[in-house]
């Protein structure tokens, strides 16, 4: 083999240029990079939450803060409602991946059906979150406030905060918990909301036959990546707010 043909052979390797070395379509790589940067944002928020919690000598007990099932019971059922929310989100992730799978087979009807199921799951999750936010707001938690905000008498503050603490109470801890809870679940909820909007747009494009004309359903895969990422973030939010 002479050196010239050897040179040609070198040029055929994935990293020799002129082709995508990762053999991933451009839009998909960009979605991955966006998700990586978004993962850094969420990580920063959660790491800050962890550091705050680690620095305090006491912290609200999640089993005491989240123990209601709205419309069913006011207290006594820790983790049940958030369990339902987690199940809804995992389930909608499954329907999304089934939509992607149907897209590979270019079965327009199935893609439509699974996308609709995913959107319903997204709305159900958002509804649950709205109910939970309303419930906590009703108890006195909000951005910058906790149930003891505005009270001056030490006895009244203890009475307002003790239901949420297992042991010692702390006004600052309850305030930080409140701020970080609404900021982080709010940022996640905003992602779910935009995910639902994007899903609806893609669904309309599927119904319109745009991807059938294009010959592939890669767009469904891209929005699927985003949707799974939202589910992934929830897995971490669930652990650090409700379990730990």
């Amino acid at each position: 083999m002479d050196s010239l043909s050897k040179l040609d052979q070198v040029k055929t390797t994935p990293w020799a240029g002129g082709r995508s070395p990762w053999s991933v379509e451009y839009g998909k790589i960009m979605m991955w990079f966006f998700l990586l940067s978004d993962a850094f944002t969420f990580s920063s928020l959660l790491v800050y939450y962890g550091a705050q919690r680690f620095s305090k000598f006491t912290w609200p007990d999640p089993d005491l803060v989240f123990q209601s099932i709205p419309g069913f019971a006011d207290h006594g059922y820790p983790l049940v409602f958030v369990g339902i929310m987690t199940f809804i989100l995992i389930m909608s992730s499954v329907t999304m991946v089934l939509a992607v799978e149907a897209g590979h087979r270019r079965s327009k009807k199935e893609v439509i059906w699974w996308m609709v199921a995913t959107i319903i799951g997204g709305f159900m999750f958002l509804g649950c979150q709205a109910i939970e936010w309303t419930h906590l707001h009703h108890e006195g938690f909000w951005f910058g406030t906790n149930p003891a905000t505005g009270l001056t008498e030490p006895g009244a503050i203890t009475k307002a905060l003790q239901p949420f603490f297992d042991g010692q109470i702390s006004y600052v801890s309850a305030l930080q918990f409140s701020n970080l809870f609404f900021t982080i679940t709010g940022f996640h909820g905003f992602h779910v909301f935009s995910g639902v909007i994007i899903n609806i747009i893609i669904l309309l494009m599927v119904i319109n036959g745009t991807f059938e004309k294009r010959g592939h359903y890669l767009m469904v895969e891209k929005v699927g990546l985003y949707w799974h990422f939202v589910d992934l973030v929830w897995v971490f939010v669930f652990t650090f707010f409700y379990l730990v």
Partner: protein, 117 residues
Amino acid sequence: MSEHNIHTEEHAHDEHASMSKKKIWSVFFILLLITVIEFIIALWVIPKGYMSQSVGNYVYIALTLLKAYYIVAYFMHLKFEKLGLQLSLSVSFVFIIYFIVLMLIEGGYLHAHMPLV
């Protein structure tokens, strides 16, 4: 352009082969099972005193990372992508690990030095 299209189609075909409906549902049941285990730990194992909260926290984090692996590898399909993409997306989290270490040191310092309020 047409070459690229052919390539994409082939790729799409490969993906279909690697992620069947059966596999999707088995990953779903794994995720559900891990979540159920977390609930059993939170509602039964720790309250009954079979495990301390601090040990439980490590178990939660391990189970969470396992769930994250299944979501990223199978649902987000990263397991079937090229090694280069897998590495560039996962190695970046070195920065987050560094950040966690930094913030835990900071939190530990504050824990020891801040007045109790």
